[in-house]
């Protein structure tokens, strides 16, 4: 499956507080409304300007901090096609896969804001069409491939009646 979109380049240490700030906590049961405040203090223009298929590009330890899964869901609701980062915080990585949002581990240092990216999720190929840089992301562990392949954890459970992992 191929994804193509513009890179939204962020630095190291983007927290889930950055993605869904605490002052919008009360909107957690109104995810479309919460989605409008995605990255409110980091990239305030994000929610209004992001296009379907755009790719969020982080650095080290992307998604650190709070387990709030709402962060990954509102990225998906905003149409983000995939997330790339040098490394992820553990809980966030599980959550982004559970949300059915592809996440790859790649050296994002060479990707710049606004670069046009093309991803092949089956092969892990990440091509920066603007710079010509081509990279390959390592495959996810089987359990995560199962979950994201089914479209996320809810879909996986509905499809199989429980956790079904092809180890």
């Amino acid at each position: 499956m191929k994804i193509r979109g513009k890179a939204w380049k962020l630095g190291d240490g983007i927290t889930t507080d950055h993605i869904t700030p605490g002052r919008f906590f009360h909107l957690r049961s109104n995810l479309p409304e919460l989605a409008k405040h995605c990255f409110a203090d980091v990239r305030p223009e994000f929610a209004a300007s992001v296009k379907p298929g755009d790719i969020v590009v982080g650095g080290q330890n992307f998604g650190l901090g709070s387990s709030r899964e709402h962060a990954t869901i509102i990225l998906k609701l905003n149409g983000v096609g995939a997330v790339l980062a040098k490394s992820y915080a553990r809980i966030f990585f599980r959550n982004v896969i559970n949300a059915g949002l592809p996440a790859l581990i790649i050296d994002t240092g060479q990707i710049r804001e606004g670069d046009e990216l093309e991803l092949n999720l089956a092969t892990g190929q990440v091509n920066d069409l603007t710079t010509g840089v081509e990279m390959i992301a390592p495959p996810l562990p089987p359990v995560m491939r199962n979950i994201i392949g089914d479209g996320g954890l809810v879909e996986h459970i509905k499809k199989h009646g429980g956790l079904k992992i092809d180890w």
């Binding site: 957690r28 049961s29 203090d41 080290q60 901090g65 709030r68 899964e69 359990v143 956790l163």
Partner: protein
Amino acid sequence: MGKTLAEKILGSRAGNDVQAGEFIIPAVDFVYVHDGTGPLTVQQMKAMGIEKIKDPARSAIFLDHASPSPRLEHANDHKLLRAFCKRTGAILSDLGGGILHNVVSEKYAKPGDVIVGADSHSCTQGALGAFATGMGSTDVAVAMAFGHTWMRVPESFQVVLKGNLAKGVYTKDFILYFIGMIGANGATYKALEFLGPGTKNLSVAARATIANMAVECGAKAGLFPADEQTKLFLQEHGREKDYQELAPDPDATYESRFDFDLSRIEPVVACPHFVDNVKPIREVGEVKVQQVLIGTCTNGRLEDLQSAAQILKGRRVHPETRLIVALSSRKVYLDALRDGTLQALVEAGGIVVGPGCGPCVGVHEGVLADGEICVGTQNRNFEGRMGNPEGFIYLASPATAAATAIAGQLCDPREFL
């Protein structure tokens, strides 16, 4: 082959010997959510078409992050969660019960348990020798519905402690120092196992501060052995029968080893806006402080409040500084009422809120104004954490927080001891 604490506990729940690096589906002994993550758990369970939960007596919902409710949206979330508990039989900890991690430690967590919580600081239960880890709401919905979850068995870091903390120095100072040293992603996916003679004199409350913050260096779990301290804690909470001794095997394989002499730790703070931005207080310089928070899942236990009260008793909070004491559980509330701790804190000029998370997570009970600085005993100082991206948060021990409240600026607690 020798097993680490992580391998032992996960193996016992997976039904066979496990090794670091393996993927398993362990049974889960206890699962819990709060009013910020629970509504999504309920929604996702419904989306999965699941009506019954595996073990209602081992599933709990805590109304603590926005309780009592500051707005109608939170009130409606609380209503939804109460209805879920009524329908499924899950445990409801309503207004006044306390902060989820603290109540789970008091009432439910046992050595050897596998526990998952829809909150990143679920690792707190490692203080009791449980393999406890935080996950998102949907993962926790699966654990609640089926009684198991998938996990990768983590490699373990062996953190060997010797010596005793000096006067005015606490386990908060140690764990902040550790996180500052190893970095916010220095232990990602690892289990931290805190071992050695230095742990013997650390109460479960003191251990809980360390375990609570394991996630702040990326760790999956922060584990202590179950020993005499664990037994004492369980006895104090009417749960001696839940005790079992638990230790790693002497020939267990650890990925890395760290050694610390606790007597050499000094008071430190985590400076804005990251938990690993740790400095000794003496290096920080003058920092005027408008708000001090004492409490939270990190440092809200009775001995934490007592260490603050010891400094504040007979003294006054600085006129330009607000002191908020956010209680962590009904039990702590009553104990602190009875033993004079709350009296000392209130007479000094503090207010008391909770039991609950209070201002820690930016919802209510102490949001910061633009440019304001808060010194707090919580576990996270990210930009915007306390409800204002223009605020600044320093993390510290309760004693440091108390000294700071009196001085009106960041202050080493040893000046008052």
